[in-house]
């Protein structure tokens, strides 16, 4: 389990490899073909990744060399202007902040749902509940966007007022500008709902794989159900939950339509999360691509490259964490 990469599909519930008098008897031809096919697939993936990276890098280089502002620190996006000026600071900020909000909300809830389904719920309830959670993943993101814009935004205004009234001292929840809740905070909530199913279902699968023996051993020592979960389920599932969270984070970072529908885009950075405004990479690309000129498209591609790198870093960090924690989840040795 511990070796599951964040990009991998949910942890396999595989049976131990059936070894295999049959396969040896098919002879060398079959072996070779299969080897060639699987190796080819691996190489193909690498080739695709390399060509995407190459394309992004090439077009980005064109854009960045034409940029008269600082690509990393400019708070503006005007590649059609004279001189062209654009920078990703606001987009990077918005992408990271909205995704972090989404993770803070979604991961605890998802782990809770997963534990409920795997360890608390009566079987009769567990299956439909798991099914409904999976169903959430089937809703197209534009529908989340429309729902967010038409339902969530107006109904969050009350919550915003409340947060502003009682938590303004946190600075984060101080609302300094008028406007409906088309803010990074709302986007974060929407993203949380969108990543809930993937985090839940991966975590659930991991929790279900906790060896029966470990749990029963804990029970035999007189542990309560909560103690069983704390002592055997959570340590075993930790790396799986991290993988699941990273999958969710990947989706949150790249989410386009839902964000574009809900957010009021603007090129300012503000830690007042309730103020309308901000932007994310994907949202900005979706919003600007139609009207962009040649340089504008390259500029958008350059911002796409930054998102690409950001995602790579996040996935790398996740793998590091998982590798470090390998020992703790020794149960699956």
């Amino acid at each position: 389990m511990a070796s599951t990469t964040p990009i991998d599909s949910p942890p396999p519930t595989q049976a131990p490899p059936v070894a295999t008098e049959k396969s040896t008897s098919t002879g060398r031809a079959g072996d070779k073909i299969f080897l060639a096919l699987s190796r080819g697939s691996g190489i193909l993936l690498l080739a695709i990744m390399a060509s995407i990276a190459g394309f992004l890098a090439y077009r980005s280089a064109i854009a960045i060399s034409a940029d008269e502002g600082n690509f990393l620190t400019t708070f503006d996006w005007d590649p059609a202007g004279d001189p062209p000026v654009f920078g990703i600071a606001v987009l990077l900020f918005g992408t990271v902040v909205s995704s972090v909000i989404a993770m803070v909300i979604a991961v605890p809830i998802a782990v809770g749902i997963a534990l409920f389904i795997s360890h608390y719920a009566p079987r009769r309830l567990a299956a439909p509940l798991a099914y409904v959670v999976d169903l959430l993943a089937a809703v197209p993101s534009i529908i989340y966007g429309i729902w967010g814009a038409l339902f969530l935004v107006p109904y969050l205004e009350g919550l915003n007022l409340w947060l502003d009234e009682f938590f303004a001292w946190t600075y984060l929840f101080e609302k300094t500008e008028v406007g409906v809740a088309r803010s990074l905070f709302t986007v974060g909530i929407l993203l949380a709902i969108m990543i809930l199913p993937i985090v839940t279902s991966v975590s659930r699968e991991v929790f279900l794989q906790v060896p029966r023996m470990n749990e029963e051993a804990a029970l035999a020592l007189g542990a309560t159900r909560w103690e069983v979960i704390r002592m055997s389920v959570l340590p075993f599932g930790r790396s799986g939950v991290i993988s699941a969270s990273m999958l969710g984070l990947g989706r949150a970072l790249g989410e386009t339509m839902a964000v574009a529908t809900v957010l009021s885009p603007s090129f300012v950075i503000s830690f007042h999360l309730l103020n309308p405004g901000g932007g994310t990479f994907a949202q900005n690309i979706a919003a600007k691509f139609d009207e962009a000129n040649e340089l504008g498209r390259d500029a958008l591609i350059a911002s796409g490259l930054v998102l690409f790198i950001l995602t790579l870093l996040v996935n790398g960090a996740a793998r590091l964490i998982i590798a470090r924690r390998k020992e703790y989840s020794g149960a699956n040795a």
Binding site: A80, G81, V178, G179, V180, A287, E291
Partner: protein, 377 residues
């Protein structure tokens, strides 16, 4: 037993899906209706005025999205009359259209602003022996729509509009607004100003108006990108209109058709005329009628008089052009371009505009357009 339960579950899920699906479909359906009301009106237009002489094959064009609705109707009527001709207008943006025109990939371009001098120079490469010219083909009022419960009538002037959109006036009961609306009870409510999030000819034309009439309150260049601080953004005229419709205390700007189709009240503009002017197609035509042709030779680029004080002339207008070569159009599309633009400038073609929320080009200028189109080479 187990099997049955599973089936039951699946049936419930399917049922839920069906209900959700139906909801989504109805939502899409009603949307469509609203968008196409303009289209149905235009269809009644008789196709008999269209002369297809010499027109053949495929004609590509691209440019302004502000004239998209008009172009859709024109193309539909024209293609219904002239079989064998296919006109494809790609609605992107004025800038894109001009770039495509100067690369020679389109027969004509649609643009909300006249060619800049450097664009004219560039066009000489494509127009052998001539240059690119602007033909004003449709006008339209840009409405300032608002949503303020209890307020049915609202008058504003250029300076107040400028201050509202750059955040200097923050409240609906600001003395500056009260002064212009003495009979109206204005609520103590924050103003939420909405603008376009993407580059837009509508933004640019509003900027031109505010820059011409309220320079001290609106010191920005008239660009396609929203220049002022503050406010909230939404994508497309439809997006701005949707926000204004939804949010109490909101104000925004969009083409008049979006206001009429969603019944959003619009601001009357206090221009200094005897009475504040309402945003209607006719009133916009009156303002465009005062425009002067500033282009030289066959170029018919217009200079609008934004500061007009004529009675009933609505000053926030946009004129959208077709860009063609005066001489040196590509031989394979020349006849089609001529035939098509002859139709759009004809009485029948201009009549379509009013139904779609645009304003026809005043007769005097239109006559020059027809003459120029007939002389295209």
């Amino acid at each position: 037993m187990k099997l049955q339960r599973k089936n039951g579950l699946r049936a419930t899920a399917l049922g839920a899906l069906a209900v959700t699906g139906a909801l989504v479909l109805t939502a899409c359906g009603s949307d469509d209706n609203a968008a196409s009301t303009g289209g149905n009106d235009g269809k009644t237009n008789a196709a008999s005025d269209i002369s297809c002489e010499g027109a053949k094959g495929k004609l590509l064009a691209s440019g302004s999205s502000a004239q998209k609705n008009a172009m859709d109707l024109w193309v539909k009527n024209y293609m219904a009359a002239c079989s064998g001709v296919e006109i494809n207008y790609k609605s992107s943006s004025s800038g894109e259209g001009i770039v495509a025109f100067n690369q020679g990939t389109v027969g004509f371009a649609g643009s909300d602003s006249a060619l800049k001098p450097e664009e004219v120079t560039e066009s000489k490469k494509i127009c052998k022996g001539g240059q690119g010219i602007n033909l004003p083909m449709a006008g339209g009022p840009i409405a300032i729509g608002y949503n303020l419960s209890g307020v049915e009538d609202l008058n504003l002037d250029a300076a107040t509009i400028a201050k509202i959109f750059n955040g200097k006036i923050k409240n609906w009961n600001d003395p500056a607004i009260e002064k212009l609306n003495e009979d109206v009870e204005l609520p103590d409510k924050a103003i939420q100003a909405f603008h376009r999030s993407e580059d837009s000819g509508t933004t640019q034309n509003l900027g031109k108006y505010l820059g011409a009439t309220a320079k001290s309150d609106w010191p920005y260049e008239a660009e396609k990108k929203w220049p002022a601080p503050g406010g909230q953004a939404a994508s497309g005229s439809s997006g701005v209109a949707a926000q204004v419709k939804q949010v109490d205390g909101a104000i925004g700007y969009f083409e008049l058709s979006y206001a009429t189709s969603q019944s959003i009240p619009t601001v009357r503009i206090d221009t200094g005329a005897s009475a504040p002017v309402e945003a209607t197609s006719e009133n916009a035509s009156k303002a465009i009628a005062a425009a002067q042709v500033k282009g030289a030779g066959k170029d018919l680029a217009l200079e609008l008089d934004y500061a007009t004080k004529a009675d009933g002339a609505y000053p926030i207008v946009l004129v959208t052009y077709e860009v063609v070569c005066d001489t040196g159009n590509k031989p394979e599309t020349l006849d089609t371009v001529k035939s098509f633009l002859t139709y759009t400038a004809s009485d029948a073609g201009q009549k379509v505009l009013t139904d779609a929320g645009y304003a026809p080009i005043p007769a005097e200028i239109n006559a020059k357009v027809r003459e120029t189109v007939a002389g295209l080479k």
